[in-house]
Symmetry: C2
Subunit: 414 residues, 2 copies
């Protein structure tokens, strides 16, 4: 007799998962190790940027008052009393018709309030003339124009990317407070599984899901504990899950979540007293994806089929891990694209189809069954076709989830 | 007297850079360390996938010939002679009206050529009946239907992402031949620069470009050698560049490439006898970006302004490094989006504006000058506005370069 499971929507399933995320706490890392981590402190401007009035050009710093009345016919002359580059503070205080030759980024000398660009002058050896008056603060990059002291620039929960690193460096954060990363375990279940290094045997396949999930975690900057393989044996698997769960914040198993005679994860969850959040999602592939929680720890039961396993990780595990780190943007980036292939057959479940997105159109990455590994290796996005009674045809605008744009494009088209 | 430089287009500049890329050779890494590397060998299917005919369902394996003539009124009965799950090979050879209870992923028993799903049967203790005939190979997942032995699935030059790892695992590649990574050095020049850990001083700013570039490299999975800071002194800087260049395949300097009195990189390139590929690009920010080659090694002279430095890395350094690794997709991913803010002022140079892209529209990330660090920390994309005589207004469709979608979205909208 087959067990009847009631499917819930993908949105509902995601919501149930993230409701159970528990924050992991914080730690301090060096700035140079902070890339990819989640900020556990806001970045506050500890000073103005720039923190002094500076020259945005190569030219001369003058007192604007001295330029009043300058015209092409009645040029005004300035004598150059100093010469500074960025990082140098002139010790001169400008008096009437004096100027300092100044390079981009250097602080305005005392008394100066305007910058004359080289191309606005006629130069002689130690002097120059101008043909127009300058306003106070003309051509000056003002203290605080980029950022004001005390401003909260980046919020807690932001991912630290290269631009964030630049900002942290600017304000002298050589140590950064970040969210601790979850300890994630991977256990691949199935009597059919061989280790990657083992030779093929009749009826067996190599474990591709374990290494794949490790790479999906690596893409998030998260390392993992590999708990290897477990054959389909209830008692042995139960012990492995129990002991692995103790060492992890989140244990990902693959396989064993369907309703087959040797699918033991449902029984294992029951024996552990785990709360099963759902065991059926209205999606293809991966409808049997099961998520449970025991002692505040996640037990993700992903399908053993590679495409379903992949999708289950990206849809459910990824946001849960990010939420545990207090991240603010926990869902895969979305866009829309024009479908380049027909999906005329309707499906009551939402479909997530591994696909190649070129920035405008999207097409399936190849052979598209839940057990296909070849399409996984080819795509860079997922087509999302909502469940319902209609099919989709070439030219339809469809939703797209982006899977990481480490890969770029072949041609420069701009 | 100001030096006159002749600007070239961004496309031309990129082309000149990548023409000089020299391949770095190969190395072998463990599968679990291969994520993010560039394949130096194609992935060849060393066997069919699946490599045996298997059941895609939970059900019964039968001989289709025995089902001929079955109807609702004249059900045909089968006796169950074995019971297997995935990974188990039945030692039974089916004879007339025999069946094997079989789970998803298990190999078809000898003699069987069709799978009856549970829901297509009425079961008794050791037997079941069916009400329709089955074709040969009905409900069978055929050997090689996903991938055929000998097929080249993934080409040399592909980035290894999680799906690639799954494929490598499937075919038993526990070691992977990948491109060697370039040795990249970073040297920040400018008398104004302080180390991140130093307190502010008048006229000085902290070095944000060095850590930022290190993070841009980390995003590509590439580590770097930090050569610290160099004040604006020709002889001292020359010695630092010389010795750093010897230790690297690619030396990135920041600052000193403009035409100011203390911009010494042009003189350094000359003293090194380096071939300057260009020193002016028709782009904002970063028009002074300079790229040179000496002894087959890249010398990237990026602007000292943070936004210009960031953009210069993404436009020129990134494709060069990828090309050195033999990568096939070396350019930033591109798409188009609807502009959410006016840029009414025309600019003869192409503009690259740090921006926030939400999958449909794009808006500037904030204060937008080449010295702005705050906008760098906020955006996830670059708006590309081609140089010319026109401005751009809200609603215009513009080109977009994606900068890494490690960050996702706040809401699940599907």
């Amino acid at each position: 007799m087959m067990e009847q499971r009631k499917p819930i929507s993908v949105a509902e399933a995601i919501d149930r998962v993230i409701q159970h995320a528990q924050l992991l706490g914080e730690e301090t890392v060096n700035l140079f190790e902070s890339y990819g981590r989640i900020l556990a402190q806001p970045i506050i401007a500890v000073h103005d940027v720039p923190h002094f009035d500076r020259s945005p050009y190569d030219g001369f710093a003058i007192r604007s008052v001295d330029s009043v009345g300058a015209t092409g016919d009645k040029r005004i002359e300035f004598s150059v009393v100093d010469h500074i580059g960025a990082g140098i503070v002139s010790n001169k205080i400008l008096t009437q018709n004096e100027a300092v030759r100044i390079m981009t980024g250097a602080p305005l000398p005392s008394g100066a309030d305007a910058i004359v660009m080289f191309e606005q002058t006629i130069e002689s050896s130690d002097s120059f003339t101008i043909r127009k008056p300058f306003d106070a603060l003309e051509n000056v990059s003002l203290q605080g124009e980029d950022v004001k002291e005390g401003e909260e620039i980046i919020e807690v929960g932001s991912l630290i990317h290269p631009g964030t690193v630049a900002l942290l460096a600017t304000f002298g954060y050589d140590k950064v407070q970040v969210a601790k990363q979850p300890i994630v375990g991977i256990l691949s279940t199935g009597t059919e599984l061989l280790d990657v290094s083992e030779p093929l045997a009749p009826g067996k396949i190599r474990n591709s899901n374990g290494p794949m999930i490790a790479a999906q975690l690596a893409r998030m900057g998260i390392s993992c504990k590999m708990f290897g393989l477990s054959a389909d044996n209830l008692e042995a698997s139960l012990e492995m899950v129990k002991s692995a769960a103790k060492e992890t914040d989140c244990l990902i198993t693959t396989g064993g979540v369907s309703v087959g005679d040797f699918d033991f994860l449902p029984a294992i969850y029951e024996r552990l007293g785990a709360e099963v959040l759902f065991n059926k999602v209205a999606m293809r592939p991966g409808s049997v994806t099961t998520v449970a929680v025991a002692n505040g720890r996640y037990l993700f039961g992903l399908s053993g089929n590679p495409s379903a396993c992949f999708t289950g990780f990206e849809l459910f595990v990824r946001p849960a891990l990010l939420k545990m780190m207090g991240a603010d943007k926990i869902y895969l980036p979305q866009t829309t694209a024009v479908l380049a292939e027909d999906f005329t057959k309707a499906n009551p479940f939402s479909r997530f189809i591994r696909a190649v997105y070129d920035g405008a159109t999207i097409r399936p990455a190849g052979f598209n069954k839940s057990n296909a590994v070849s399409s996984i290796a080819r795509g860079n996005a997922l087509i999302v076709l909502p469940g319902g009674s209609r099919g989709f045809t070439v030219g339809d605008k469809v939703d797209v989830l982006l899977l990481g744009v480490e890969e770029g494009t072949v041609k420069w088209l701009l």
